[in-house]
């Protein structure tokens, strides 16, 4: 019986000690939290207009428990944007990066200052009458300089990638659709022009406005081997009977030569017989 009682006492003692330890741990628990930043003299970053800098803030959890953090920031004129950061901090971890992308505006003026302000605070479910948590609030000043900036100059491609990151997916899809449509339109115009050029000067010489159809020309010459032939042929056609497609068919070979000759001039407006004769006189 005495032994049994001793065993029970031992268990009660162990339980009591465990409860006591847990109570002490909870009662004595207090937040230990840190934020580390790269060394910048007077917390000031010097950038030339258009320069880029990756600014990393490391959150540190010096406690034995896992907790989430509330991380907030504000930046003048959107000079900085948070691009990554995990708000859950595992126990005893000192490298939980929150990465800011800072870009000095292209039109920034030497001497201008922009401020990035950020704060971090553990989110804890604390007991007690007036529980307390800590918050760290810091700021970084971005000073615009005209030389010896601490950032990197971006290529156009890098600027585009950053611009993409800074806009939401819906906006980017709209931009891509519009750009796609513009590209298609431009491609269509180019193809159309190439097609017209491939048709040769015959195509180029087609009237830009509809030619009134007249009766077929009476052919008074049997051959069409020179510009003179064409000129002569056209001269014989009455004004109201001028029919360019018919002449083109008859003098196809000559029109090919004319195509080469007038290629640089591309499009002629041929409405009347005189228009055609003007071209042949050139």
């Amino acid at each position: 019986m005495g032994i049994k009682r001793g065993v029970i006492d031992s268990h009660i003692l162990e339980l009591f000690m465990l409860v006591t330890i847990l109570t002490l741990m909870l009662a004595g628990y207090a937040t230990a939290f840190g934020v580390s930043t790269p060394y910048l003299e007077n917390d000031t970053l010097k950038l030339e207009p258009g320069q880029h800098y990756t600014y990393t803030v490391n959150l540190q959890n010096n406690d034995d428990i896992l907790f989430d953090v509330a991380f907030n920031y504000t930046a003048d004129k959107d000079i900085a944007q948070l691009i990554s950061g995990n708000t859950t901090l595992r126990p005893k971890t000192y490298n939980n990066p929150f990465v800011f992308e800072i870009i000095a505006p292209d039109d920034a003026i030497k001497g201008e200052r922009y401020t990035l302000q950020f704060s971090a605070r553990p989110l804890l479910n604390l007991s007690g009458q007036v529980p307390m948590v800590v918050q760290i609030q810091r700021s970084l000043t971005v000073l615009i300089v005209d030389k010896n900036g601490q950032g990197q100059t971006l290529t156009l491609y890098e600027k585009m990638r950053i611009w993409e990151r800074r806009h939401n997916a819906g906006f980017m899809i709209a931009v891509y659709v519009i750009v796609g449509l513009i590209i298609l339109a431009v491609a269509f115009v180019i193809i159309l022009r190439l097609w017209r050029i491939s048709k040769g000067i015959a195509g180029a010489l087609e009237p830009s406005t509809k030619i009134e159809e007249g009766p077929p020309a009476r052919m008074t010459i049997s051959a069409c081997t020179s510009v003179e032939d064409i000129t002569e042929l056209i001269a014989t056609i009455p004004e109201n009977a001028f029919n360019l497609p018919e002449i083109r068919t008859l003098c196809a070979e000559k029109f090919m030569e004319l195509n080469e000759k007038f290629l640089s001039q591309k499009v002629f407006t041929v409405k009347t017989k005189e228009d055609m004769l003007d071209i042949l006189r050139k």
Partner: protein, 280 residues
């Protein structure tokens, strides 16, 4: 035969023999001497001074809040006497800023060549080691106790803003009408566990409630000293604590006092959410 031709006929062989003798005799004598004499050759190779010819550049890191942290710095040491003359146990890195220095506790060989070793050394930094530029002194001592160092590179110590409070909550007790009741576990200690200093302290208070009964945050005031004439707090409002700041390796006390309004019902009152101590 003429007399002059006769003379030439006699002298020519004599001259020829003399020339051949002049060329060959020294060689004959030398060969003879080498085969019979001895030479003592004594060659003394002097110790070559080791050189620390490379230290990794552009290194930076920040202390870990409230604790120590190892940083690793690498360098190359060269000794013309051979790599065996470069003793890893004599490799060392010291980082210095003003009067403070941190010395490596472990160095190891990363790679070895004929006359060169690359070392990496771990240096322990403290959470309160000041931010800024620290000079790296990488050194080696060879087998003949010749010393070499390289001071060309620096280490950039980042800034760690770290704080800790020693109480997770403050506790008050009193009766309606009591004024400026100090917390039973006062003060709250705000401890700097980083290497950056804070110039101001703010406290965001919240009402405390017991069921539907409330004691407004405006019934509290706070101070950096035990003087109850502190600054009045307000619900969900960040209030600057006058005179409070936090130096590196320092502690700042925070005192909070409660005046319990008359007519406050009995009960256990707790804050609707944690109060926030903001250091900036």
């Amino acid at each position: 035969m003429k007399k002059s031709s006769m003379r030439l006929f006699i002298l020519a062989p004599i001259v020829l023999i003399a020339i051949v003798a002049a060329i060959t005799l020294p060689n004959i004598l030398q060969t003879y001497a080498a085969s019979t004499g001895t030479f003592n050759v004594s060659l003394t190779i002097a110790n070559s001074q080791p050189v620390v010819n490379y230290v990794a550049a552009g290194q930076s890191d920040s202390p870990a809040a409230g604790t120590t942290k190892d940083i690793t710095i690498s360098f190359n040491a060269t000794d013309a006497n051979g790599v065996a003359d470069i003793d890893p146990s004599n490799a060392k890195v010291i980082i210095n800023q003003s009067a403070v220095s941190r010395t490596s506790h472990t160095c190891w060989t990363v790679s070895s060549g004929t006359t060169q070793r690359m070392f990496s050394c771990n240096v322990t930094i403290q959470y309160y080691d000041l931010p800024g530029t620290w000079t790296i002194n990488a050194s080696i001592v060879d087998g003949a106790s010749a010393y070499a160092e390289n001071l060309t590179q620096t280490f950039s110590m980042g800034t760690t803003y770290g704080i800790s409070i020693n109480k997770s909550s403050l506790t008050f007790s009193g009766s309606p009408g009591d004024t400026n009741v100090a917390a039973s576990n006062a003060p709250q200690n705000v401890i700097n566990i980083g290497n950056g200093q804070f110039n101001s302290m703010n406290l965001t208070a919240y009402d405390i409630a017991s069921g539907s009964n409330t004691i407004g945050a405006a019934n509290f005031n706070a101070n950096a000293t035990a003087n109850s004439a502190g600054v009045a707090l307000a619900n969900n409002t960040m209030t600057v604590i006058p005179g409070a700041s936090l130096a590196v390796n320092g502690t700042q006390n925070l005192y909070v006092f409660l005046s319990i309004p008359q007519g406050t019902p009995n009960g256990t009152y707790t804050s609707v959410q944690p109060w926030v101590v903001t250091m900036s």
